[in-house]
Amino acid sequence: MKLTEPMRALTLRLDDELFAIEAQSVREILDLVPVTEVPNASPFAAGLINVRGRVVPLADLKVAFGMHRAKADQDTRIVVIETEIGSEPTVVGILADKVYDVTDIEPAAIEEAPRVGMRWRPDYVRGIGKRQGSFIIIPDLNRIFETQGRRSAPSSASEERAAS
């Protein structure tokens, strides 16, 4: 990704990696709230939460990145963002193991994601930034939601279970 200006981003931690989300897509940050499980949904978006009277899906990027998912603790937050799914603007919440701050990442500090040898799918990563000595992964949220969103488990399988 080529930037001309610094990217204003919210940094957060998933498992042991740092991620950056563009600040302008962040609507709010919540403490953990009760999550309603959606039966037969893909693990990526397994729950629904109530954000100011609005029903919002809760997604876990760790699933997309194949990372280890630990239990939630007092640092866990939900970052409510606006993204596009199939060119439809959608509000979703993403789980964060810890939320840091909003900083500017200099364009010079951002590099292309390497095509091979990386831990995750290259198409999920827009770029890798560096800040104070650590690597920060800039995820391609649109792409992730597009791909993962298509994976809701078909209902027929579960219903077959039920009628037997």
């Binding site: 009760p34 039966p39 029903v55 799914i85």
Partner: protein, 668 residues
């Protein structure tokens, strides 16, 4: 209202064109009704005028021609015939295209206009040529060299003041032309006892320095020229001789004010059939209504939370307030729902045109009767009903009604009848489409169903169940595919749409006498009564309108066993689904499982749950794309304690249950 006048015009034009269509269709039934002709004419006139104003010149030009031809009809020179109405309807369609999609339409108008003119008579009614305005009396200009001073004299018509003319403004306009001296002429002013305060008696004389003010004065007296006295003469710059003064004195005549305002008899406003009812109504963008609905929904949720808190509290004041709030929010909900309610008549009106066209295309005479136009439905529901009803009407006309010969042979009137009605029935609206045609042929349906593998020859079905097969995808008993119907694409879409509206559709028939399709729809969409149940650790809402009854799961069925899962409900077998398994719930099931029997147009299924919690008002929230693919759920809602609960799509569950049962039936 849109802030773009062109867009407002388009909206307005759409309404006017609809009115126009209804008027033309009415006119076909009542060709001698002069009021109808007038209202058609008025609609055309308005579209033409506004069209020209907002740059829709093609529209204005076409409508002008249309109007001219229709003017002959209005003046009684040409009769109203079915032919005329048909062409007029084509012309109306063309105007619609010109407004919505101008690129595609321009040449199509010419043949329509020609047909219209040919009908209405070859020699067109000549458009009144614009006559030249009568020139104001102007005296011969004197020798050019000296003509730079002019004497302007005028008396206004006696009613000028009454009719809003302000002489001061006129004089001001003249004064702008150049340096001048103004004198009032009082010779026409009567004695005090004869003065009528509203009349104009004064005249004025203005001596103006100007090259030639004739043209400019034309403009000043634009509205008054024909009724006033005006003289414009060049002044010679010499001192007037006494002779000249005397001559001038003679020219000033006393005008007897004799113009009586001839008040015509008012023509007696008759109420036309197709008049726009301009009551005090307001045009509101649809998005605002949706927003309002959202707010009310949120209020209902918050109030439910408060009620819950009050229930757990010992504070009597809190309880009282919570009750009051419940009453108020319920009232607000009802009122807001009411705003979204629109009479179904608007939809019915569209169908008249459809039936008219079908009648011509299929060469069948059809009587189309509607009732219950004032029955109100949620606005979004009405829009979604349009297509299904079109299909049903088409089917009735195309397949239901027999041709003229067959009808006569059967002893029926040549004119077939299609009846469309809407009526309230409790918390539902019942819409039915009835025809007096040949009725459904059960044997043929059966045959077709077996051919398509939907039935086995020995399978026994009730008539109702047999007719429901018509809604299966691809099913069609039409011997030939006409361009209108018969491809079997229609009925399954109809059913899906009705299911999507949480409604039911049924068919009933009497062979040889006719068929009726009945739609039953719940009255509101966005906020419904839901039955809250618990399955494992999760809570789910089931739309109450789909719930038939609740029973306990008998111990005998409680043992998980292979093979059919059926309950015997008063003699009929109802399949059941264990939701714990559908949802892969963890933990141990509750001791006494409950079964909620839900129904859809396809049949019934029992949903086995751990616990039935109670009924609540459920504000329906749509699911995002991440979850909308899950057919088991039709939406989500927020409960009184702030958590999210999913709403079950009972139609889907019933379909699934039925399909399962059939598969198992085949396997057994």
């Amino acid at each position: 209202m849109s802030s773009d006048p062109a867009e407002t015009f388009r909206q307005e034009a759409r309404e006017l064109l609809e009115q126009l269509e209804q008027g033309l269709l009415d006119l076909e039934q009542n060709p001698a009704d002069a009021d109808l002709v007038n209202s058609v004419f008025r609609a055309l006139h308005t579209i033409k005028g506004s069209g020209a104003m907002f740059g829709f010149t093609d529209v204005a030009a076409f409508v002008h021609e249309f109007e001219t031809a229709f003017d002959r009809v209005r003046k009684g020179h040409s009769p109203v015939t079915g032919e005329l109405v048909a062409i007029a309807l084509d012309a109306k369609d063309h105007v619609h295209t010109l407004i919505e999609d101008p690129q595609s339409a321009i040449d199509a108008g010419v043949p329509i206009l020609e047909a219209l003119r040919a009908l209405v008579e070859p020699d067109r009614f000549p458009a009144a040529p614009m006559p030249a305005a009568k020139p104001a009396p102007v005296a011969e200009p004197a020798a050019p060299a000296a003509a730079s001073r002019w004497r302007i004299r005028f008396h206004l018509p006696s009613d000028a003041l009454l009719y809003g003319t302000n002489p001061v403004l006129l004089l001001g306009e003249i004064a702008e032309l150049g340096p001048c001296e103004i004198t009032a002429l009082t010779d026409a002013v009567p004695t005090l006892d004869a003065i009528d305060l509203e009349d104009s008696y004064l005249g004025w004389q203005v001596d103006l320095t100007h090259l030639d003010p004739t043209a400019a004065l034309d403009d000043v007296f634009l509205f008054l020229k024909d009724g006033m006295d005006l003289s414009i003469e060049p002044l010679v710059d010499a001192a007037p001789t006494i002779a000249q003064l005397a001559a001038e004195a003679d020219e000033v005549e006393l005008h007897a004010v004799t113009e009586a305002v001839a008040l015509r008899e008012p023509e007696g406003e008759r109420t036309d059939r197709a008049t726009v009812t301009t009551g005090t109504s307001l045009r509101v963008p649809a998005e605002r209504l949706d927003e309002l609905m959202d707010r009310v929904g949120e209020l209902v949720i918050a109030q439910a939370r408060l009620s819950q808190m009050a229930a757990h509290s010992a504070d009597p004041n809190l309880k009282t307030v919570a009750e009051e709030l419940e009453r108020l929010s319920s009232g607000l909900r009802d009122t807001t729902m009411g705003i979204r309610m629109v009479p179904i008549g608007s939809l019915f009106a569209r169908f008249r045109r459809l039936v008219h066209d079908l009648s011509r295309d299929l060469d069948k005479q059809i009587e189309f009767i509607t009732s219950g136009e004032e029955t109100e439905l949620d606005k979004t529901m009405i829009e979604r009903l349009a297509d299904p009803l079109v299909h049903l009407i088409r089917n009735a006309v195309d397949h239901g009604l027999e041709g003229a010969e067959a009808r006569v042979q059967a002893g029926k009137p040549v004119k077939g009848t299609v009846r469309l009605s809407a009526v309230y029935a409790g918390a539902e609206v019942t819409i039915s489409v009835t025809d007096d045609g040949a009725g459904l042929d059960a044997a043929r349906i059966r045959q077709k169903a077996e051919e398509q593998g939907l039935l086995t020859p020995d399978q026994r079905l009730s008539d109702q169940e047999l007719y429901q097969l018509i809604f299966a995808p691809g099913f069609s008993t039409a011997k030939e595919v006409t361009s209108l119907s018969g491809r079997g694409v229609g009925m399954d879409v109809v059913k899906r749409t009705i299911d999507g509206l949480r409604g039911k559709i049924e068919l009933s028939t009497v062979p040889g006498e006719g068929t009726t399709a009945t739609l039953r729809l719940p009255l509101t969409l966005a906020i419904i009564e839901g039955m809250l149940v618990r399955v494992g650790n999760g809570r789910y809402s089931i739309p109450l309108s789909a719930v038939e009854e609740c029973v306990e799961l008998p111990a005998s069925a409680d043992i998980a066993s292979r093979g059919r899962s059926f309950l015997d409900i008063r003699g009929s077998l109802v399949p059941f689904l264990r939701l714990r398994e559908v949802f892969a719930a963890s933990g141990e099931p509750d001791g006494h499982q409950k079964v909620v029997i839900v129904s859809s147009s396809e049949g019934r299924v029992g949903l086995v749950v751990d616990q039935i919690i109670g009924n609540t008002q459920t504000v329906i929230k749509q699911l995002s794309k991440l979850h909308s693919g899950l057919e088991t759920f039709s939406g989500a809602t927020i409960l009184g304690d702030g958590t999210v609960a999913l709403i079950l799509d009972t139609s889907h569950l019933v379909s699934y249950g039925q399909a399962q049962e059939q598969q198992l039936g085949r396997a057994a």
